[in-house]
Amino acid sequence: MDFLDNLLIALSFSVQPENLLPCFIGAFIGTLVGVLPGLGPMATMSLLLPITFKLSTAQSIIMLAGIYYGAQYGGSTTSILMNIPGEASTVITCIDGYEMAKKGRAGAALGISAMGSFIGGTVAVIMMTFLAPPLAEMALKFGPPENASLMVLGVILVIYLSSGSMIKALMMAAFGFLLGSIGSDLLSGSIRFSMGFRDLTDGVGLVPVVMGLFGISEVMLNIEESFRDRDFIKTTFRDLFPYKSEYLESVGPIARGTLFFFLGILPGGGAIIASIASYALERKLSKTPEKFGTGYIKGVAGPETANNAACMGAYVPLLTLGIPGNGVMGILMGAFLIHGVAPGPLLLTTHPDIFWGVIGSMYMGNIMLLILNLPLIGIWVRILRVPYKLLFPIILLICLIGSYSVNNSIFDVNLMVIFGIIGYLMKKFGYPGAPLVLALILGPMLERNMGQSVMMSNGSFMIFISRPISAVLLMTTFVLLISPMILSLIRRKRVGLLIEGEEDN
């Protein structure tokens, strides 16, 4: 059996002690970076890149890879405990995770998120072991028209995101699109809406916006609360682990969450879109959508599985095709190159030790992360006993360092503070942040891919319909959009018939 062979090769490489240690270091640093808000894997990996010169290629990649997926584990910690996302991809976990913490169920939320992460990560690696090369070929089928149609489908997720006013959610999405249009326009080469700021030439950075909207604003709100002499979270902590019923409820979301592995394979797909999409999907499928936003375990289990699965997916195009799909993979690519190994379609045949060593390390890494994270839950939860007046300066400081470290830019720090104020006002007036973040990510991608498609077809919009994958995606969008309308029409007709029937009598 080819498949079993693959698995055995991968595992045999990974249990070698010289590969286990870098894997553990990477996973450990990743967890730490994930827990610290704003501080992201990208900045950490580029800082550690020179250190890896002393290691072998496989060891370097194993360590750096561990940082990225490790960060997805740690990211949910502060989302749940403090309503501050540790990583951009855990924004959505704040919604229900923090509500659970308020009810004293922080341990359960952290527990299910660690389980979800483990299952998401491991299932993704299993799929990778068996299917990596064909999957990568599939990713190549996604050209600009397919991407553009996928983005259109993504945009309608906004509708399922907010539990409050729909108008407010749409307004925030529009605001996100506006923000996304800032910066240089790839198609014409000119710079739009930069208002004279050179640092806006490349658009508004995602990390400062997310950290500001969710992190800084939360600290501001809490400081305000503490002036009114209300403690942070007063509830005592019952049951550090999820109840049986919660486990059962999480099975579906976790199982579906692992499928977001496929989204991660597409360039630009990424963990953040996966987590938001998973939340929207769970809400759409749920019989009790009103429970989302009130501390519902499904709102934590799904997204936390999805972001880990998608993060693993991002390795597929790099390892099998030699194409980095996002910035983090770009750094890994650099690490390969500096060690004199060019990742490409031949990596598997010319350097099987590296290829299988890295994939094998991911099995080990996920187990290590689970073992590392479960006992930590008790410690994390105790952090909440630290008086807030001691805690918030530390949080602020870490946010400042984090936002600076993305591009080594002071401008990003200022941007974060400005979005902190905007986020504070948004929270005060009940405007949701998630639609804004989604639009900010999807907007520029949609615009770029749409422009490229039309340029490719010499100006014809038929390209979106004539290509099968794109056509299917657009059809799905259309059906999703009109289905509520049709359903309500049918219902009205039924009611109408009933009334008519009554009148007849």
Partner: protein, 326 residues
């Protein structure tokens, strides 16, 4: 003065000396770590190349040589920072053409300085612009590509990194000289271009050799049809130049150089220059650069200055001729 205050004062002095660096003793350069700005995010060929050079600068200068990535703004963020930093040799730039010819680029308003405000130190490598196609494309050479394009006008698609970029200039000049009609689509970064090429959405990619292209070439997924350099390159010895094929693009060499703010002391520049020379002559460095897709190439400060000037003026002229600069 109590013991505690004494130590506090001492500690403050220590901190101050850290901040000011060479505050107290003035020894020989370099006596503390040097940082070199790169105007791209980590992982690309410029960044990887700079990191290889940095490793050896460290060896010769006996001080850490740190690469600091300041991506964005069409390289203006890093350029402006270098312009603003102290001309003491502790902040340098490992730059391509974009931040070194600010007034001759598409968006000169991004830069707060002019070409003459940066001091060239030495060239350490150069980028190669390659014309790439899928290995199984119906054409195997530039001639066949032209034949194919003439038979199918406005059907083939070529990609570049955006209007005004070097690869766009070279591609546009070539398409014009060959008298063919092809559609051009910009892609952000070589990785996106490569995905589109391998996926069959794009037929020709014009880009710098290195990074994502190396693995694809090794696996015979793509083929280099030509390079835009004047002479054949040691990195891709089998690939013909456009000049050989009868197309005079005329773009000056695509240098990767070390730059310092104007006013850096001559002896510091001298030391850096010598270190770069040593590094580029080191067979180990040459080998490591080749694996990234770069050829080690040395030019002294004067020659590099001339090259920068030539390139800036050439780019300016072409951008005007092509109608993207008014």
């Amino acid at each position: 003065m109590s013991h505690r205050t004494f130590w506090v004062v001492m500690f403050c002095c220590f901190l101050l000396s850290m901040v000011n660096g060479n505050g107290l003793a003035q020894g020989t350069y370099p006596e503390r770590p040097i940082q070199a700005l790169v105007s791209y995010a980590p992982g690309g060929s410029t960044d990887s190349g700079a990191r290889v050079i940095a490793e050896y600068m460290q060896k010769y200068l006996k001080q850490p040589f740190l690469i600091v990535n300041k991506p964005g703004g069409g390289s203006s963020i890093a350029g402006n920072e270098l312009f603003r930093s102290k001309p003491d040799g502790y902040t340098l730039g490992m730059f391509t053409s974009a931040p070194t010819t600010p007034e001759y680029t598409m968006n000169p308003q991004n830069f707060i300085y002019k070409t003459k405000d940066l001091q060239p130190v030495a060239e350490w490598s150069k980028n190669l612009t390659v014309f790439l196609s899928r290995y199984d494309a119906p054409w195997k050479s530039i001639e066949e590509l032209i034949k194919h394009a003439k038979a199918n006008p406005s059907k083939l698609v070529w990609s570049h990194a955006g209007r005004g970029n070097r690869d766009w200039i070279e591609g546009t000049l070539f398409v014009g000289q060959a008298g063919i009609k092809m559609l051009d689509v910009p892609f952000q970064g070589a990785a996106d271009s490569m995905t589109a090429l391998l996926g069959g959405n794009v037929d020709v990619v014009v880009t710098s050799y290195g990074g994502v292209t190396i693995g694809q070439m090794e696996a015979k997924k793509i083929r280099a049809l030509a390079i835009s350099d004047e002479k054949r390159s040691s990195v891709l010895p089998d690939v013909p130049t456009l000049k050989e094929l009868g197309y005079e693009i005329g773009t000056p060499e695509n240098y990767l150089g070390m730059f310092a703010p104007k006013g850096t002391p001559a002896e510091v520049l001298q030391k850096l220059n010598e270190a770069v020379l040593k590094a580029t002559q080191d067979p180990e460095v040459q080998q490591k650069l080749a694996k990234i897709g770069l050829a080690a190439s040395y030019k002294n400060a004067k020659d590099l200055e001339q090259l920068v000037d030539n390139f800036g003026k050439f780019q300016f002229k072409i951008l005007k001729e092509l109608g993207v600069l008014k």
